[in-house]
Symmetry: C2
Subunit: 196 residues, 2 copies
DNA sequence: GTCTATATCGTGATAGAC
DNA sequence: GTCTATCACGATATAGAC
């Protein structure tokens, strides 16, 4: 069955909400601000969504489950640990360039989730990080990666790409592929030039 | 002349404010929350500070000028470009481990600055980034760094260390020196193990 | 210097007419 | 479905007693 008009409207509201939350923060965005951007009265929005909290929850968990689903596919692929880790970095870049606003909200405004949702979200993130860290651990064991502190490697990889969410616009004079290759070169081969 | 009692009290308020802003965000923190942590009534705080905005401004510009001052010292030092860039990364790590709350606020809550302050802050940051980018450019020209997109290198370096502000606690089982060395190894030599 | 009391405004959310 | 009107609350900030 096709999506109902009401569902589409709801998705539109959430999409615009993500952009505003990214711009002004969750607490800094009022339902009146949002209504204005959507083009309806604040009261009318409550016909499509049940609360401001619910919007935040939808955005954050949408991103979290996307990451975890894709991680599963990467884990079960038939490639080296280096290739799996590179695929993960590419996944982050891909999501930041296609769903920048939602990723930004999930990265920065998750702390405003209601207590139960907050706990569940933290659990999901911690679960994701553990599986990410396992790939690093196994990569080191297999001799593909340098012997470095696992946590430092994990968070450096996760963090190194986060600026892209703020910086990326379609016309930056660089393709997504070039962007990916440059970042992967820095992280896996290093910025320093090897002596010939 | 020694600092007055009133100034010390003011600094204490701002320090606690930075911790709360980091935890709950600028908009998510009320003057009543802050007053409670400081241990006085909200109205009394206004004897020491003039507004919530002023607190934010003090924090953000304090961090910005610290970064720029230290950048100046690094630029004028007598070392290779690689060493200068490594010193900059160390500077970021040092500030995040000694002034984590303030750095977090300057990184995440600067968007709540009042319009004039906002513009000035953006200008300072852009000025800092330009000088940072120059070191990368010159490092590439000198053949010390790989030929990569300058902006990507700049923001990857800046971003790669930002998780430390959230993660660092004195007892993580890793010294600041180990942390620095690991991050610098990843960024400048790469995570991938070189074939012998 | 520190408090109580309060002015004024913006917030999330709802009731109910149409 | 969409609006107007409104409620209950919490926000920043100030006035003024002590």
């Amino acid at each position: 069955m096709a999506k109902k008009k009401k569902d589409l409207r709801r998705e539109n509201i959430i999409e615009i909400a993500a952009q505003l939350f990214k711009q002004k923060g969750f607490s800094g965005t009022s339902m009146r601000d949002l209504a204005e951007q959507v083009g309806m009265d604040a009261a009318t929005m409550y016909h499509y969504i049940s609360s401001k909290d619910e919007i935040l929850k939808t955005i954050c968990f949408g991103i979290a489950t996307t990451y975890i689903t894709q991680l599963g596919e990467i884990e079960s692929s038939d490639s080296s640990y280096i290739e799996k880790l590179k695929a993960l970095v590419r996944l982050h870049l891909h999501l930041m360039t296609t769903k920048g606003a939602e990723v930004s909200v999930a990265n920065n405004d998750w702390k405003y989730l209601s207590p139960e949702a907050l706990q569940e979200f933290k659990d999901l993130r911690s679960h994701y990080e553990k599986r990410f860290a396992s790939l690093i651990e196994e990569g080191i064991q297999a001799g593909e990666l340098q012997e470095v502190n696992r946590s430092v490697a994990l968070f450096t990889l996760l963090s190194a790409v986060r600026w892209v969410e703020l910086w990326w616009k379609p016309n930056r004079g660089i393709t997504l592929e070039e962007l990916e290759n440059t970042i992967l070169t820095i992280l896996f081969n290093g910025l320093e030039k090897k002596q010939p």
